[in-house]
């Protein structure tokens, strides 16, 4: 079967990027920089090939990247929307190569189809930093670096929070899974299941795929509540599905504890839903935007000759304790 199912990320140890302000002066005999044209006062174009702007989480990544890039006057950020279409995304990467951008950021819609395009960029001497999703190959060799969260660990944290804090006395739980064919959906499902194993009184009585979509989640969770009226909590693999689950619970006149994933900001996002008391928690899926711009700074401005191949960004639990103060961030 496919190699991307159940592929565990080798979450490297947390690699903290040195703040670019700490440029070490006069590095003698350093290895060649990754980008020869690097310079403190240069002007650089960074191309970001986004998988699909239609997903709210990805728009959130775009917003954070734009904010982080704006803070660096030497950088111009260009974002191309692959619109969930590997053909479109491939042509956009090719266009960035034509433009000779100084650095390519990419969240590939799918791994295998975008692998050749990433190789073409690397062959053209453009460093490639992959964000949130990987292409095939090895970080540090086939592409410059990978920055992202660890889906399994995030869901594991949600499962452990359920065991210890949410349902310490046990009860029936349900899971809404993302698009079953996608790696994050599989990893988040497994992570949550492993997280609730520590409490034997919790039973997962229903799991259904709702493809990341709120309307499908509402329908699926309404059916689950019909079949299992004693469900005490539901784990939704993203915030959108958690919003759908809330509608279903309200429709059934039941109070169900809801955990989301992503921790999106804004009025429709998970942080506000927790602050309002609609959900019990949501676990952020960090965008890695700040880390990506920091890495671009060290490559393009500080003439780094190497960067960490994998940067894993940790999740933050958004609970009633901290939701209000996180809203302002």
């Amino acid at each position: 079967m496919t190699q991307n199912a159940l592929r565990m990320w080798h979450a490297g140890r947390m690699a903290l990027l040195a703040g670019s302000c700490l440029a070490i002066a006069s590095v003698a005999h350093a290895a060649d920089p990754l980008v020869k044209a690097c310079a403190k006062d240069g002007e650089f174009v960074i191309g970001f090939s986004q998988a699909n702007n239609a997903e709210p989480y990805r728009q959130h990544v775009n917003d954070e990247l734009q904010a982080a890039a704006k803070a660096v006057p030497q950088f111009t950020l260009q974002i191309a929307d692959g619109a969930g279409n590997v053909n479109t995304q491939t042509s956009q990467v090719d266009n960035f190569i034509t433009q000779k951008v100084d650095l390519l950021l990419i969240s590939p819609f799918e791994a295998a189809p975008l692998t050749p395009a990433v190789k073409r960029a690397m062959d053209a001497g453009i460093p490639v930093v992959e964000l949130d999703r990987k292409t095939n190959g090895e970080a540090g060799k086939d592409y410059t670096a990978f920055i992202g969260g660890d889906n399994y660990k995030i869901a594991l944290a949600a499962g452990e929070y359920t065991s210890k804090t949410l349902l310490p006395d046990g009860g029936e739980a349900a899971v809404l899974q993302g698009l079953p064919s996608s790696t994050p959906a599989v990893e988040r499902l497994n992570g949550f299941k492993d997280g609730v194993k520590s409490n034997s009184k919790i039973q997962i009585v229903a799991e259904q795929a709702a493809d990341w979509l709120p309307d499908k989640a509402q329908t699926a969770f309404a059916a689950m509540l019909q079949a299992h009226p004693d469900i005490k909590m539901v784990y939704a693999s993203n915030d959108m599905m958690a919003a759908g689950a809330l509608l279903a619970a309200k429709g059934a006149g039941k109070s169900v504890k809801i955990i989301g994933t992503d921790g999106l900001p804004g009025p429709a996002g998970g942080i506000e839903a927790v602050a309002k008391g609609d959900w019990s928690a949501t676990f952020t899926y960090p965008t890695g935007a700040k880390e990506a711009v920091d890495m671009a700074k060290s490559i393009l401005l500080d003439c780094a000759s190497s960067v960490p191949a994998t940067v894993t960004v940790d999740t933050t639990a958004i609970t009633p304790d901290n939701a209000k103060q996180m809203m302002g961030k």
Binding site: Q3, D81, A83, N85, D94, A112, T115, S181
Partner: protein
């Protein structure tokens, strides 16, 4: 019924008057293509004095990106000239891509067997839709809408809701390495192989439409079905044949897709039917049937690709691209309607 009689049938005859507006419509997509290219050159970003837009690499990017929708649009042209429509093409591409991947990876079939089987499957899929539509006198819109759902459903069943990655090599579970050539480039590593497939298919289709009896029959069926029937054109057979062609074209596009991207996915090709219809309409083919040109479709396809490219090179948002495409479609349709009105067809 002889060919001469068909040729003298008014429904089949081209308009005699030379009308400048009609000429404009006849070549609207070529004129549009020239305008887009001129705009591309004018508005192209420059790097060190080099106009990026007309770099061979960039032109290659443009024609590679449109090769899949182009192949589909070519098939769609036949259907639309008969006043039909085929909404199942994008879904058939997805189905063909997963079947291609499955046959080679888990089936262990060779390249030739796989390609022939997938092309046959696509052709049959189109044949069945054409036959149902023709036999039960159903709107092609409805039949192919059902065909779209059926193809997606079948694709999900075949692929078990999974993306199927294609790895190359010799042995079980590996596809023949030659298949990866579809993602490659020839002639000094410039011309994308996917584009070559598109252009070969385009040449064959242009010849078929412009020089064969079949092509004349296609125009006849779309121009005036009753007249065509009376003059002895096998209307049902032609109608079934054009859907078989779109099925074949979609399967071919699916094979190209799988080869370019080394994977098959049931959801790929979503929305391609609309892109293809847009290219055909911009190419000057009327949805009322009876008139249209293959060269126009090809120009329309490349024009849409060039437009997307120049907007991205200038970092203009995808929203603008959609709005620009919308404006071009409306313009093309308005031009056609003006000509029709002038010819007294009243629609």
């Amino acid at each position: 019924m002889s060919e001469q009689q068909i040729a003298s049938n008014p429904a089949v005859q081209p308009a005699k008057r030379i009308d400048p507006l009609a000429v404009l419509v006849r070549f609207q997509s070529l004129i549009g293509l020239i305008l887009v290219f001129a705009g591309g050159i004018i508005f192209s970003p420059r790097r060190h004095g080099v106009i990026l837009f007309i770099q061979p690499d960039n032109i290659a990017n443009i024609v590679r990106a449109v090769s899949e929708t182009g192949i589909i649009a070519i098939g769609m042209t036949f259907v639309i000239i008969t006043a039909g429509i085929d909404l199942s093409v994008g879904a058939t591409l997805g189905l063909a891509s997963v079947v291609t991947a499955t046959l080679m990876v888990s089936g262990g079939f060779g390249l030739v067997t796989t390609v022939l089987a997938v092309l046959l499957m696509g052709t049959c899929f189109g044949l069945v839709q054409g036959a149902i539509s023709s036999k039960f006198r159903l709107e092609a819109f409805i039949v192919t809408l059902a065909g779209l759902q059926a193809a997606r459903g079948l694709a999900l069943v075949v692929s078990d809701n999974q993306y199927i990655n294609i790895s190359y090599g010799d042995g079980p579970g590996l596809a023949p390495p030659i298949f990866a050539i579809l993602g490659g480039r020839l002639f000094g590593n410039v011309v994308p192989v996917a584009t070559i497939v598109f252009l070969i298919f385009a040449c064959i289709a242009t010849l078929a439409l412009n020089t064969t009896r079949f092509g004349r029959y296609v125009y006849a069926v779309g121009g005036n079905e009753r007249a065509a029937r009376i003059s002895g054109v096998p209307v049902s057979a032609i109608k079934i044949a054009v859907y078989a062609i779109t099925g074949f074209a979609s399967a071919l596009a699916g094979i190209v897709h799988a080869g370019q991207f080394n994977f098959g996915s049931a959801n790929d090709g979503t929305g391609y039917e609309l892109t293809a219809i847009a290219a055909v309409v911009i190419g000057g083919t009327s949805l009322f049937g009876g008139s249209g040109s293959m060269v126009g479709t090809i120009a329309g396809t490349i024009m849409l690709g060039a437009l997307a490219n120049i907007l991205q090179l200038n970092n203009i948002t995808p929203a603008m691209q959609l709005l620009a495409t919308a404006a071009i479609i409306v313009l093309a349709a308005v031009l056609q309607s003006l000509v029709r009105r002038r010819e007294g067809l009243g629609r």
